[in-house]
């Protein structure tokens, strides 16, 4: 039975339920203060990726399904959101909804095909589907091909609030991120989430208990794709562009890296991982030649030594759940 090694295979302490709440409070406080200290545009992009990684982690860390083609939902939501805002002239919240809905539909189609297989074959189907949609994006007129969709307007939220103000935009992105994050939290800590974890541990047993595991897996897949889509759609409005980079397989690889570095199967891991990887990309920009090598070295180090990721190791040390 293919599954990911559970980083929390140990007895958690009494601090268990409280640790997650405390960590959540710390995260919110940090994100509220941060734009006054660091460049807001960077933080907004980091939050979008943190949401993307969290959505990916829902599938791999809690259901045990490694998807190699998650860029498909992120990128196409980004395209549709950009198109809706720029060409159809929709207000930003409608544009983001359009993008998210697109990702949900794509997730339903891709998921119903991919769910039939497990392990590496599941991964390869998701990759194949993502690659096919990538080649389609290269050629389709409306995606702008290599140039992408540029000059996406920030617009007025609900027709009233001008999003060109960085702090206003930041508040909106923060709300979207927290909403998505809490939604994932609720999914994980719900009866539905328990069934998902049971499927990860031993699918055969879950089936023998009467659960229709295919439906649960598909539901999780669609949820993961939808939230990834929300992240992509928001990013298009924040950065005011959508490009091929968002649908290509290195993007799928990057979200795997973020989740791995942060901690597979932890709630806060993907958030930490996303911030770390993005900070690295920007700090290393002046010595750009070594970015690829350093990313590779981090992959290797994480797999060999820090399999639990940053947050996972922290949780393990403190014997709490994060």
């Amino acid at each position: 039975m293919e599954r990911v090694v559970d980083p929390l295979a140990q007895k958690p302490s009494a601090l268990r339920t409280q640790s997650e709440t405390i960590a959540f409070g710390v995260m919110v406080a940090a994100l509220v203060i941060a734009p006054f200290v660091t460049y807001p545009l960077f933080l907004m992009q980091a939050m979008c990726f943190a949401l993307f990684a969290s959505a990916f982690n829902l599938l791999v860390g809690y259901v045990g399904l490694l998807s190699f083609g998650h860029a498909l939902y992120f990128g196409w939501a980004s395209y549709l959101s950009a198109h809706a805002a720029k060409v159809w002239g929709l207000t930003p919240e409608l544009a983001i909804l359009t993008g998210t809905a697109t990702a949900a539909i794509l997730g339903l189609i891709a998921g119903s095909l991919a769910i039939r297989r497990q392990g590496i074959y599941f991964a390869m189907i998701t990759l194949a589907l993502a690659q096919m949609m990538y080649f389609f994006a290269v050629q389709a007129k409306f995606t702008g091909g290599e140039d992408g969709i540029q000059g996406v307007p920030r617009g007025n939220l609900f027709g009233l609030i001008d999003l060109r103000n960085e702090m206003t935009m930041y508040a909106v992105v923060l709300i979207i991120f927290l909403a998505g994050f809490m939604f994932i939290y609720r999914i994980i800590h719900s009866p539905f989430g328990e069934v998902l974890k049971a499927i990860r541990e031993n699918e055969a047993r879950a089936i023998s208990l009467g659960y229709k595991t295919e439906r649960y897996k598909l539901a999780a897949f669609v949820l993961s794709a939808t939230i990834a889509g929300a992240a992509g759609a928001t990013k298009a409005i924040v950065l005011q562009l959508a490009s091929l980079t968002d649908v290509n397989w290195p993007m799928s690889g990057e979200v795997v890296l973020m989740t791995l570095v942060g901690g597979l199967g932890t709630i806060f891991g993907p958030v930490a991982g996303a911030f770390v990887i993005l900070v690295m990309q920007f700090k290393l920009a002046p010595i750009g030649e070594w970015v690829l090598v350093i990313q590779g070295a981090i992959f290797v180090a994480c797999v060999l030594l820090f399999r639990r990721g940053i947050v996972g190791e922290l949780a393990h040390l403190l014997r709490i759940r994060l």
């Binding site: 293919e2 599954r3 990911v4 090694v5 490694l66 095909l113 039939r116 297989r117 392990g119 590496i120 074959y121 390869m124 189907i125 990759l127 194949a128 589907l129 690659q131 096919m132 080649f135 050629q139 397989w249 690889g253 795997v256 791995l260 030649e289 070594w290 970015v291 690829l292 090598v293 350093i294 990313q295 590779g296 070295a297 981090i298 992959f299 290797v300 994480c302 797999v303 060999l304 399999r307």
Partner: protein, 295 residues
């Protein structure tokens, strides 16, 4: 001279032959991957980078020691194979007990490192490497002009592929190897050094990749990203053929080359998508692949 679907038969046969030649590259590369996965259960994502290393070593051998194409065909795979052995001893051996995922991620990380280092030292445009004198030129077959080098590619690939298949499926060494993957403890009990066999097998798979790299150097651009462009397609080939099957990798490699070649004639814009479409279909219909024995 007759027409099939609007394409003159001459042109069609030419494209079929070209497809077969491309298929031999796919077969060579997927052979190495299939050997490594079949024997070791490791998904070697750095296969593309090792293919690239083969081409680069061939270039370096030419630049710094004057060794041309023919010696490079032997020396480069050996050198790169040795690096494979080092990788296995240093990194991979700790991952056998874990989920496939970790082997994949580790080799993916290694691929990034190799590509990054190559880019830093050699730039990204590419390095010059020409077809060796003895294989230059070609002959006009009537329905197309066939460069001699391409004819050599088919011959060499078929030889290596059939040779490898024979060793693994029909010799005693191959039998030990296959037994060791099924039940290492039992085979060890017979006094066979299983860890060493595994190490050497990985080295051999990597050497196959490097061999393909040397073969590619004269006709494809020798650049740091030459492997990453190819690796996804090669994975698709292996998955279609059946991840543990040597014969599957060879047959599918050649077959897919032909299919791709035909697509280039009738519908060229789709020639890079057709492999993924086929892979998705095969995975849904026959999950273990066409020749696979692992579910």
């Amino acid at each position: 001279m007759f027409e099939i679907f609007g394409i003159p038969s001459q042109a069609l046969f030419g494209q079929l032959l070209i497809g077969l030649i491309n298929g031999s590259f796919y077969a060579l590369l997927s052979l190495g991957l299939a050997v490594i996965f079949g024997m070791l259960n490791i998904i070697n994502f750095s296969h593309g980078a090792q293919y690239m290393m083969g081409a680069f070593v061939a270039y370096l051998l030419l630049q710094y020691s004057g060794l041309g194409y023919w010696p490079a065909l032997i020396v480069a795979p050996i050198l790169v194979g040795i690096t494979g052995v080092i990788v296995e001893r240093l990194f991979l051996q700790w991952l056998y007990k874990l989920d496939h995922l970790y082997g994949l991620l580790l080799t993916f990380g290694l691929a990034l490192i190799l590509e990054g280092v190559a880019r830093n030292y050699f730039g990204s445009a590419g390095l010059p490497y020409t077809v060796p004198e003895s294989l230059q030129g070609g002959r006009n077959l009537g329905f197309m002009f066939l460069p001699n080098y391409r004819a050599w590619v088919i011959v060499a690939s078929l030889t290596v592929c059939i040779g490898t298949w024979f060793v693994i499926e029909r010799t005693r060494l191959g039998a030990y190897l296959r037994a060791a993957t099924e039940n290492p403890t039992l085979v060890r009990a017979f006094g066979i050094n299983v860890p060493r066999m595994i190490t050497l097998t990985y080295g051999f798979g990597v050497a196959l990749a490097a061999f393909a790299g040397v073969m590619a150097a004269p006709i494809y651009n020798v650049s740091p990203q030459m492997g990453s462009e190819l690796i996804i397609v090669v994975f698709a080939v292996v998955v279609i053929g059946g991840m543990g099957s040597i014969l599957g990798a060879i047959v599918t490699g050649f077959g897919l080359g032909v299919v791709e070649g035909l697509t280039k004639v009738f519908f060229p814009e789709a020639s890079n998508t057709v492999i993924f479409v086929i892979m998705a279909i095969v995975l849904l219909v026959r999950p273990a692949g066409l020749f696979g024995r692992r579910g």
